[in-house]
Symmetry: C2
Subunit: 403 residues, 2 copies
């Protein structure tokens, strides 16, 4: 296998902006796909102006957000509102495997570049879209944002403190889930194409993606009629299985069955009496009286550091771990061993760090190969290599603001 990875034969024309789509194509490019990021001339992806910033070698503020999510991609500027821009796009579609976009449904159709048009040019084309609500249904034209998907997909309703307000996951989880579902859809369609010879459309909705990630929540509600409450870090059916305060932070202890509870009492808390204590003899009792158990755990372990407490508990065979902030993650030996953050050189930003790929393929390893592109950096290269345009033709297109 070449150095470029599992997807090296796939050419993706990537019209997506901001996070959900670009996160998907970041993963696919890490695994070797040739991602041609098509950006609006002059401005490019919105995230070129998103923080965090660093003063670059030209003394200008430049986005590390863009630099992170768009490594390994090439940038082609193209004005899709101009006839010549559309023409170039259509000619590229003939050579591409995949088009991705995250416009509101209908925008590509209005440009004359919707899937129905593009598949006439290239029946093998796979067309992936990700939008707030998907390409069908009454809300299809509503604006979609991460936070709306977390709100309308139900994640917020089950996240947060007991008695507290609905709370979003602290990252753009709706966008990430949308991007992951899009990647699965595209790769599945690539496989289907080996069976049928035909491409197809993949239609991902952020709201659908969040609903899927709430797993059995609706099934529980449908059976019980009880709307699931927010529970902080506790669970409805297991205890002690929660966050506990120690000297310098919080740790998780997950002693979710009788055997682990007894081990915890005997070997960690040195309180064998708690096994037969009528409050705690079964799971039902432990759930009802979890504040009492928490008090004993925190009294016993409160003088230990997170590291000491976790080491002690793990050594007794009970699942435990620290609650990390981001600085602790970056220092963690497991995270380093898994290469979840990658240092790289960027031509204008200098030494930067980008996220590693969480999909570990042992033979065709994902890799971070090239820095995120300057706006239009590869326009000439792409138009020459894919369409055979001469430097003069490219210069003319630039003059006409097509690029």
């Amino acid at each position: 296998m070449s150095e470029h990875g599992a997807l090296q034969d796939l050419v993706i024309l990537d019209l997506t902006r901001v996070l959900a789509g670009p996160f998907c194509t970041m993963m696919l490019s890490d695994m070797g796909a040739q991602v041609i990021k098509i950006e609006v001339p002059g401005t490019g992806d919105d995230t070129r102006t998103y923080p965090p910033f660093r003063k670059n070698k030209d003394g200008k503020q430049e986005s590390l957000y863009y630099a992170n999510i768009n490594r390994n991609k090439k940038s082609l500027t193209l004005n899709l509102k101009s006839e010549e821009g559309k023409d170039i796009f259509r000619r590229l579609v003939k050579k591409a495997d995949i088009v991705t976009e995250n416009y509101r449904p209908g925008v590509m159709d209005k440009l004359g570049l919707g899937y129905e048009e593009l598949k006439k040019i290239n029946p093998r084309l796979i067309y992936g879209s990700v939008s707030g609500f998907g390409n069908t249904g009454p809300y299809r034209l509503r604006p979609g944002y991460d936070i709306l998907s977390q709100a309308m997909g139900g994640l917020m309703s089950i996240t947060g403190a007991v008695g507290g307000p609905p709370t979003r996951a602290g990252s753009a989880m709706g966008d990430i889930l949308g991007g992951l579902h899009l990647a699965i859809g595209l790769l599945t369609a690539v496989h289907a194409r080996t069976l049928t010879g035909q491409g197809q459309r993949v239609d991902i909705s952020l709201m659908d993606s969040v609903i899927a990630a709430t797993e059995n929540t609706a099934i529980k509600y449908l059976e019980s009629g009880v709307i699931p409450p927010r529970m902080g870090n506790r669970y409805a059916a297991v205890s002690p299985y929660d966050a506990f305060q120690v000297k310098d932070g919080k740790i998780i202890i997950a002693a979710g069955n009788q055997r682990l509870y007894e081990k915890l009492c005997n070997d960690v808390l040195h309180r064998p009496d708690m096994i037969d204590d009528p409050r705690f003899t079964d799971m039902e009792g432990r759930l009802k009286n979890q504040d009492d158990i928490q008090a004993v755990i925190e009294d016993t372990l409160g003088e230990l550091t997170m590291d000491e407490a976790v080491e002690l508990i793990l050594s007794k065979g009970i699942p435990a771990g620290p609650i990390y902030d981001v600085s602790q993650i970056l220092d963690d030996p497991q995270v380093k061993a898994r290469e979840m953050f990658i240092p790289m050189e960027h031509p204008t930003l200098g030494s930067i760090t980008v996220n590693g790929c969480a999909v570990k393929l042992e033979d065709t390893k994902p890799s971070v190969r090239t820095p995120a592109p300057a706006l239009g950096e590869h326009s000439e290269e792409i138009l020459s290599s894919y369409l055979g345009l001469s430097p003069e033709e490219v210069a003319q297109l630039r003059e006409k603001s097509v690029l």
Copy 2:
């Protein structure tokens, strides 16, 4: 294309239990893969004893959790600790495309069924594992659970109320993210196999998967040195972009730029004076004084229902949406249009509802075809059709507790 979908030619031997792995193979089976769920004789997947339960036609408590996550799969019981069980597994591996497992690293090796052994039997085999920390690194042998991945992957540290404790996402998000990453890895390896003719190992860690889902969090910290605080539903760089109380619940308003803020003031709040109010003239001011903006929004909209408020705000071109609980999601017309919940008949549970698939492939539609299997329901069928065993041979294996 046949009725079975995009992945109909792929045979998956699925040893995974509980959620992360079974969620992955649920998606793949929805898209047509032939998933043979291999379960421990007598007990099966742990989730067969997980709530919610319903009294089934035999008068016994039966799990709807299992029924949801394992539709479309077939169940083969197999004792992998017995030599005959191992032999049957190895013979099935010859006919399979994919093996999935979520044992702690090393368990399959000890059984003599690790990837290095299996690839000798079938070099085209793709071997996917998902575990708490992955197959490499110092924590590889630690027990891994959803909540540990949310804690150690950093999601908890950025989720929760301002000034409040670190908080988990309310679903098993670490498991879901692990399952999604596993699906991407498997499908990528299937594609790589078309190029190389060889299978490979895919190694997914829940902790890695959560770290990836925190997207730019670490990049921001590395540049600023500031550990990102918990912000409830607010964002660091945009306002008003938050949850707001109305008559019967909370809604999201996402007016994250100058144009949308002005529209909000003019067309929704009827307070054009707030545009030039020195507290709110730019984003920096709006971020600093967001409590004041919130008070005006909640005063103005507080008598409207969620539906009325959202409709009003959307009609003015400003992104907004309700914060739904699960009952509202189930009633929502968009969710119905997207078929995110599917009614089906189950032979012992009767009429049940299961989650729909969020990956919408337009030609090879994902589908829910068959109910989750009874334990070992397909043992005879599978051993007959894949290995040519006779009913008598199957009966003998059953007698010896191999099945």
